[in-house]
């Protein structure tokens, strides 16, 4: 196996503006093509960690690297192109009047020609099974449909790493099942922050447990998920 390191995080610390400590020394490497589940109870720092992956929050310049490139002010554009962040609430991610505008937003900001933008929007919508929805408004869609379009907005940017924050939250069982199927088919490197153990088991071979801003465990899903006592201690069971 000759896969590169997609993400390298070394000793990342973060403190909220009000002084609350969110991350205290997170070290983590994700190989290209891996699907890693980021488990942790509420407030463990999962979202904060995801926000560091595309430079929305930044530590010291060398603490986060994407394909070897430090997430610094200068590299921010290429990093955001590579790391597609899918927010927990699709209503935050879908801010345009139509689905088309939302999916086209990233490619347009990349400065692509209109015909190329058009092609990417169509491809991305097809990939998530929402072809033909381009004229619809997110306001009138179901939670599952919104989630699919939210994923399409980053696929259209050709992101090679997907960082998903609680992808199954607010979905009904069918919506959740379909989302899991979708995430299985779209490949790419995926980092999935969740506290849905079953979803993590189905999608990820490797799990990282975050607790109190630190990595409490990092290993094979089966091993971690079978240690009931450990999960209980970290608020996951």
């Amino acid at each position: 196996m000759d896969s590169r390191n997609a993400i390298e995080i070394s000793d990342l610390h973060y403190r909220f503006p009000d002084g609350t400590v969110a991350l205290q020394g997170v070290t983590l490497t994700v190989r290209e093509g891996e699907k890693v589940g980021l488990l942790g109870p509420n407030g463990a720092g999962k979202t904060t960690l995801l926000l560091h992956l595309n430079g929305l929050l930044r530590g010291p310049d060398s603490s986060v690297k994407v394909f070897g490139e430090a997430v610094s002010r200068r590299a921010i554009k290429s990093v955001r192109r590579r790391v597609g962040l899918v927010f927990q609430n699709p209503d935050d991610q879908l801010f345009c009047p139509t689905v088309y505008d939302d999916v086209a937003f990233g490619p347009q900001n990349m400065g692509l020609e209109p015909h190329e933008v058009h092609r990417r929007v169509n491809d991305a919508l097809r990939e998530v099974g929402m072809e033909g929805a381009d004229k619809r408004s997110a306001f009138h869609m179901s939670a599952g449909e919104k989630k699919r379009v939210a994923i399409a907005t980053v696929l259209a940017m050709d992101s090679v790493i997907l960082a998903l924050d609680e992808p199954a939250s607010n979905l009904d069982p069918r919506g959740r099942r379909e989302l899991i199927e979708l995430l299985k088919t779209i490949g790419r490197t995926q980092i999935i922050a969740t506290h849905d153990l079953d979803l993590a088991r189905q999608l990820c071979a490797r799990l990282v447990v975050l607790s109190g801003g630190k990595v409490a465990a990092d290993g094979a899903s089966e091993t971690i998920l079978s240690d009931h006592q450990f999960l209980h201690a970290h608020g996951l069971a």
């Binding site: 801010f95 505008d101 937003f105 990233g106």
Partner: protein, 261 residues
Amino acid sequence: MRHSFLDKYAYQDTPVHRLDGRAKVIVLGATILAAVTTPVQAWWALAGYALLIACLISLARIPLLHVVTRWLVILPFILLAALSAPFLEGGRTVWSSSMLGLNVSEHGLHVAAGAIAGSTVSVLALITLVSVTPMPSLLEALRRLRVPAVFVMLLSFAYRYLFILVDEAERLETARESRSFGGGRLTHMRALGRMIASLLVRSFGRAERVYAAMLSRGYDASRPIPEAGRRFEGHDVAFLSAGLVLVIGLRSSVIWIPAMR
């Protein structure tokens, strides 16, 4: 939850709906500009603008009730704004009360009537515009008419999040309702104040998350977005020129106001 959208009738297929958004924005924008600068003595001009709007409404098959009910929502604000105008000085005094120390002047009454008529025409024009143009086309039209991108974006966000905000307010209201037992008006007002504050805080949080989502997809306020849009066609040009000629003609006719001759 379902809300009746402002642009409920905007997706119909009529000759008016098929017109290019830019043509509609320009003609109705010109109507508004003309209406607010036309003195009430030129009543025929104001009636002319209203007639133009009425023609559009009927061609676009928008129910009159839809337009009128939306106008009624705005009416109190118009009346409030016109309230003080009759007491302006100038011209003949029509009515006075030494006890209140107020004088109603003829000039003042004209200004008040003009304000009411002018803003009524403007509001009708705006209601018509959003009823015959889907919001996405309207926003595109504004962008292509070189309206600053920040304004277009603000409008777009207002449209996208208005109903989400209404939903949120309704949920807060339900939560309050299910926990409030009796209590006087003051208690109610206090709860309302807290609700509004809570809504503000939530919106603030949402704004931050939306902005983060925009940055994540490479948003850069300084970069213009290249667009491929439709071109003006024959009927767009015809509508645009006929509309502008009519509005400019009516506006110019104020020279026939007797007192201004």
